[in-house]
């Protein structure tokens, strides 16, 4: 295995930017404390040609872990998993960065180099560093860098190569002995010691010749303005969702057409009926049905990345904290909740940056109530089948309003349940909030592009593995056992139908027949498969391919009652139909009990809601 090098530094020091500049992999860069939710790893080369592996660890303000995120770093530094470190120093925050540097260098003998990053901004602000003195006092090479401008990178790698020649760092006079662990009662004294040492050090290596940066302050006067601020926030969110739906339409149609064309190709080929059905109804329908909303996911992520990189996200947290507090949430829950609209899984992972256990648990528990994009095709299908597109007033159409209502219901219940969990699971004082409002930065298009590519990679992997295998299994369950080789015969005798019929009694009170029951099973792997499964069911049953959503919605209109349609619509707001979400929640919270709670409360809401909807419309 290649030796691993860790990127270590405070939040927003530019670790991810440096990671992106040094490696050629795709990892997002963002201007938001603690956005590195999972440490990314990628290869890079030293000037001598050796290949090493670089790990982008989450940032921390100290090695005394305060958030789950910081735990990752503290643990990583304790072990022997790294051959060396690149210590990333934010040159625009010298005091804070140096204190952290001292703490890290105290704690380990591992070889290290210092990247004095953001040197471009520090220079503008008139911070002058004496590099030679700096390196001599720390006993570690210091290289000024500007990660987003790719400045100082060859020098950094050269210095790293030399440092790695020794397995252990020689401690300079500034680091007398390895630090022993300190009893809890003395922790704050130790913090103050770091202040003293950092001050002594800085006096000898840095002078401030300029004035503090006023630009961010000026931008904040607008963005955090008492009146304009909230309006801008609403406007930004509105634009984000508008773009997500409108921009995505064209590529989605394109993908849809592409897969229909593929299906046609298969249908007209000389393959046997069984193989045709497998390729067309199984593989192409399943994979196509999922890939179709990749554009939506990517657009939402791109916009989130852009806003983070600019520095807007932490301002949104700042503005929303009070409001979120009213429903038992933390301002920091905002970002996880927003990302969940693309997909719940990364949403849950980014809840790691929330300091308090209570807030993290509650945020995770309610995330499945946000409308992830996998629900959109199902909503779209049911709405087009059962909601007339009449004009309500001023050109507002009923179908659009129902869609909006589904989103609103989801977030309403998310907040409601948040309040309930807070009240019954975690009483007591609200845990404190401390977030940094970093200076505004021009978003880097390069890292935006890389972030998007990274998402595409993750998503394709999911489609190629989970979704593909599930669709194949489902196709098998729907098509077998066969009698006399005719696939089209008797879907009601298939394995899937048998399972569906077996659970039907349970779902009859909410208006679902065995076909729906059957179609619900695969949605545990991916909700979006529902549309594909229903197409397959009615294709096989009707003996003719139901190739597009319009045809399917016509069939549903004939076959189902309105009450059933409404009931299923409500079911999809609540039901925890996604194994990945549940598994991620369990892993992130390190608790099976919370996962079961999530499963149970969501099923209870779904069943109750669907029952009421079914009653109301029958």
């Amino acid at each position: 295995m290649k030796s691993r090098i860790a990127l270590v530094g405070t939040p927003n020091a530019g670790k991810t930017a440096l990671f992106n500049a040094l490696t050629h992999s795709h990892q997002r860069v963002a201007n938001y404390s603690g956005v590195t939710v999972e440490s990314a790893e990628a290869d890079f080369f030293l000037p001598g040609g050796d290949a090493l592996s670089l790990v982008d660890l989450p940032g921390a303000y100290s090695l005394r872990p305060y958030t789950e995120d910081e735990n990752v770093l503290a643990d990583a530094l304790k072990g022997t998993s790294f051959a060396g470190m690149i210590l990333v120093v934010d040159a625009t925050q010298p005091e804070r960065a140096i204190r952290f540097l001292l703490e890290v260098l105290d704690s380990t003998d591992s070889p290290a180099v210092i990247a004095l990053n953001m040197s471009d901004l520090a220079e503008k602000r008139g911070f002058e560093f004496d590099m030679v003195q700096f390196a001599a006092l720390m006993g570690v090479p210091v290289i000024p860098t500007a990660a987003t401008r790719k400045k100082g990178l060859p020098e950094l790698l050269g210095a790293l190569e030399i440092s790695l020649k020794n397995q252990k760092r020689r401690r300079s006079a500034f680091f007398p002995a390895p630090a022993e662990s300190v009893p809890a009662t003395r922790v704050s004294e130790r913090v103050l010691e770091f202040y003293k040492r950092a001050d002594q050090l800085l006096k000898r290596i840095m002078v401030r010749k300029g004035f503090p940066d006023e630009r961010s302050r000026k931008i904040d006067r607008v963005i955090l303005h008492p009146v304009a601020g909230p309006l801008i926030l609403i406007l930004v969110l509105g634009i984000v969702f508008q773009l997500m739906f409108n921009l995505a339409q064209f590529p989605m149609d394109l993908i849809d057409t592409g897969f229909s064309w593929l299906q046609g190709l298969v249908q007209n080929s000389g393959l046997s009926v069984g193989v045709k059905s497998f390729l067309s109804d199984g593989v192409i329908a399943g994979v196509g049905g999922t890939l179709v909303f990749l554009p939506q996911i990517l657009i939402l992520y791109a916009l989130i990345l852009f806003l983070e990189d600019f520095g807007f996200m932490s301002r949104a947290v700042f503005m929303l904290d009070h409001l979120m507090g009213k429903v038992g949430l933390h301002g920091r829950s905002f970002l996880p909740l927003l990302s969940s609209y693309a997909c719940n899984v990364p949403g849950i992972m980014s809840a790691r940056t929330i300091e308090s256990k209570a807030d993290r648990v509650i945020t995770t528990l309610i995330i499945p109530l946000t409308t992830c994009s996998a629900r959109i095709p199902v909503y779209g299908l049911l709405i087009s089948a059962f909601i007339p597109n009449t004009e309500v007033f001023l050109g507002l159409k009923l179908q659009g309003l129902v869609m909006l209502g589904l989103y609103a219901t989801g977030i309403f219940f998310a907040f409601l349940m948040g309040g309930i969990f807070k009240r019954f699971l975690f009483q007591g004082r609200r845990p404190p909030l401390l977030i940094e409002l970093p200076s505004y930065k021009r978003p880097s298009m390069r890292s935006l592009l890389r972030g998007i590519l990274y998402r595409i990679k993750l998503f394709s992997k999911r489609v190629g593995t989970v979704i593909l295998s599930v669709t194949v299994v489902i196709w098998f369950l729907l098509s077998y056992p066969q009698d006399g080789g005719a696939v089209a015969s008797g879907i009601e005798h298939s394995y899937a139908a048998q399972i569906g019929q077996w659970i039907e009694p349970l779902l009859r009170p909410i208006g679902f027949d065995w076909r729906i029951a059957m179609a619900l099973i695969p949605t545990f792997a991916a909700r979006e498969v529902m549309v594909g499964t229903l197409s397959t069911v009615y294709s096989i049953e009707g003996g003719a391919a139901v190739s597009d959503v319009e045809k399917l919605s016509m069939i549903l209109k004939q076959e189902w009652s309105v009450a059933t349609g409404m009931s299923l619509l409500v079911w999809f707001i609540f039901a925890p139909m996604c194994v990945s979400t549940l598994a991620t929640a369990r892993r992130e919270l390190k608790s099976t009990r919370y996962m079961i709670l999530m499963l149970v409360y969501l099923f209870a809401l779904a069943y109750l809601g669907s029952y009421l909807a079914y009653r109301a419309f029958s």
Binding site: R96, L192, P212, D220, S314, H322, E436, L437, S439
Partner: protein, 91 residues
């Protein structure tokens, strides 16, 4: 940690108007909040440091944004009240 309690001229950080500058002179008692207090120390809030209240969040006038050294942090007013400040003037 030194616990300098309300000497008459010090004020709680959470109570200061936007634009106010001051010097940190101590910290309130925080039995159940020791962890948070240490975190405040770590990010820059220590006795002798200068702070400036920049503004308040538009909705509910809470949290507030505070400049310490070269960083700006958001703190809820309740939590900021742990920090005691000797006011030095307005900007």
């Amino acid at each position: 940690m030194r616990m300098i309690l309300n000497s008459e001229s010090s004020q709680k950080l959470g109570s200061l108007e936007p634009g106010t500058r001051g010097e940190i002179v101590g910290f309130g008692v925080a039995e159940d909040h020791l962890d948070f207090l240490i975190r405040l120390n770590e990010v820059g809030f220590v006795v002798g440091e200068q702070v400036e209240v920049l503004g308040r969040a538009p909705l509910g006038q809470d949290p507030i944004s505070i400049r310490v050294k070269d960083a700006v942090y958001a703190l809820r007013r309740d939590d900021a009240n742990l920090v005691l400040v000797q006011v030095m003037g307005n900007s």
